[in-house]
């Protein structure tokens, strides 16, 4: 008689409170392009247990279309898809406005020339199926760390006039504490961790309110407007928290020299 055991290895379990989760530096919004439903379910299960939020696409074109309105922290991409190949998806992303999206190829194609092709076309990493859970999580976190927008951040961030402490959940501006609600704090942290990055409304909602919360656009706009005022994220202060039509928001730190010129005028 043969016996094997399939266990969930020791990983952190998903926290119960979403606000705790959202504030956790390691939470990622992950897009999974995988046409095999079993594989997609397993990858989603593993990643959600580790506290990440997953969005599954079973066709490459569906992801490409979604990227017109959505942003993700990282993409898991299969090679063999029913419509277009994973390499074609990769090429199109690398020439799009989301060219910096970290991409991990997850495929059963194990030939050296396949690995080389994917990496040369701009994949950040390559894993051959069957994947192992802890290795997948480690590689995902590693490419996100190396990415343009670092996912893991220290508990205390100092950015320009802001000092953000995610442990005490406080934001100081010019050494004075800014009064923020819990949601406004989470929203502020999300923007300050992603300066210069265009975040979709879905991405913002999911990070701040949780993946299953129903939040209207108006509610989101109200919170954004409130933190813009409370934190002084305006051009006079060297910041711009700009809305992008039908997509989301981007926090930009304006060129300090232009800011100075503006002040001198």
């Amino acid at each position: 008689m043969n016996t094997t055991t399939l266990k969930n290895p020791d990983v952190k379990t998903a926290p119960h409170s979403h606000s705790t989760l959202a504030a956790h530096a390691g939470t990622m919004r992950v897009a999974i392009v995988e046409d095999d439903p079993s594989q997609a379910e397993l990858l989603t299960h593993w990643l959600e247990l580790a506290g990440h939020h997953c969005h599954h696409f079973d066709r490459g074109e569906l992801l490409i279309r979604a990227l017109d309105q959505e942003s993700f922290d990282v993409l898991l991409l299969d090679w063999n898809l029913p419509d277009i190949s994973g390499v074609d998806v990769l090429k199109r992303i690398r020439t799009s406005s989301q060219s910096g999206l970290p991409i991990l190829f997850v495929t059963a194609r194990n030939r050296e020339d396949d690995v080389v092709t994917a990496l040369r076309q701009g994949a950040d990493d390559y894993m051959v199926k069957p994947v192992r859970r802890l290795e997948l999580l480690a590689r995902l976190e590693a490419i996100a760390r190396r990415g343009k927008h670092r996912i893991e951040q220290p508990e205390v961030m100092e950015i320009d006039v802001f000092k953000v402490d995610t442990q005490t959940r406080t934001v100081m501006r010019n050494d004075r504490q800014v009064e923020l609600t819990a949601k406004d704090f989470d929203l502020s942290v999300l923007f300050l961790r992603n300066i210069g990055r265009l975040l979709s409304r879905g991405h913002i909602r999911e990070n701040v309110w949780g993946p299953s919360a129903v939040v209207t656009s108006r509610t989101l706009d109200t919170h954004v407007s409130r933190i813009r005022n409370k934190l002084g994220l305006t051009p006079e202060n060297g910041w711009r928290l700009a809305a992008v039509y039908r997509y989301g928001y981007r926090l930009e730190q304006l060129d300090p020299s232009r800011h100075l010129a503006h002040d001198e005028r």
């Binding site: 043969n2 266990k7 095999d36 079993s38 397993l42 063999n80 199926k129 069957p130 994947v131």
Partner: protein, 113 residues
Amino acid sequence: MSVLAGSNRSAKPMPPHIVKVDKDLEALVQRFLARKRDDLQRAREALAGGEFDTIRRIGHDLKGAGEAFGFPELSNFGAALQSAAVAHNEGVLIEQLEAMEQFMARLRITLDK
């Protein structure tokens, strides 16, 4: 304990192959095995119709998924099906599909406490 058993056409009594899974993975594993039983049937039909590319794709998916779900034997069957389909080797395909069916018939899933 929940038990999964497939059809068993083999005349030989074979020992069960027991796989223990965490409770939170049970539903996923059950769905995976049900899909693979469907794939096995599809592969037989494809072989009858000479559709080697269908078998290649089924083998490719199985190769990638089996071990991740705790069934390295299924990954091995997948690899064998894929390469035999590429080579249009009907004899090997018949053997591998039969062996895979027998293996799945022996599978028993139990919950790990």
